[in-house]
Amino acid sequence: MSTSADPESGVARAVRRFAVPPARVFDAWLDPALVGRWMFAAGGDEIVHIRLDPRVGGAFSFKVRRGEQEVDHVGEYREIERPRRLAFTWGVVGDDASDGVTVDIVPLEDGCEVTVSHRMHPSWTEFAPKAAEAWATMLGALDAALAGRSSETPARTAERGA
């Protein structure tokens, strides 16, 4: 299992190997009887409903109750290429923006490797790389100027300092 969260590209990733064939993993995402058993199994979420229309353009709604609150995870399927790729939008009812999620399944000799890539809403990803870079440049040059050095390559860590 590996994960990464890269603010420059606005993508969070989780990668995991499974010891079952790709089709079984793929189908688990689109089978309403199964989705509730792994997507909301832990942590005391009570499932209100799991609804999905497993076709391109079809919508889904996964509603859970967390204490007093009801949270409805909704979206639309954008790509369905069994058993290797699934893509859908993802958001919570009440939020303005919706993110994009892709699930890529690569077959291995004894199973498969699954990568879930969660891309934040475009309003962020459009500007994040340029913003982070511009800021790193400015802070790096500022840093150099303060230290009385001549201009050097800006430090990458400068963007975290922001």
Partner: protein, 103 residues
């Protein structure tokens, strides 16, 4: 000065000065940062003052970390579920062959 930048306001000229960067070039950078919500501009008369808002970058990082954890936990749960249901053969069962389970 970094603290000043984070806690205070600068004009574009003040920001540009230590970088040997033209005000024009600094303005371009600042506009990109503004659009991303990292820098806020306040205008008094003909003076534009800029303030760093690093909160937005930090917020995005928090959301990404959240989803990184969210999906890795779910893949763990999916793995556990599929392992517990693994049939002898390597053929995938069609959904109708699976037991329906109550939520």
């Amino acid at each position: 000065m970094l603290r000043r930048l984070a806690g205070g306001e600068q004009t574009v000229g003040e920001l540009a000065e230590p970088f040997r960067m033209s005000v024009q070039a600094a303005s371009k950078h600042v506009r990109v940062l503004e659009r991303a919500g990292l820098v806020r501009r306040s205008i008094r008369g003909r003076t534009h003052r800029l303030r760093l808002d690093a909160g937005r970058l930090a917020e995005a990082q928090r959301w990404l970390s959240y989803y990184e954890r969210f999906w890795s936990e779910r893949l763990d749960a999916l793995d556990a579920l599929l392992q517990s249901e693994a049939p002898e053969s390597s053929q995938a069962l069609p959904p109708s062959a699976r037991e329906e389970s109550d939520p």
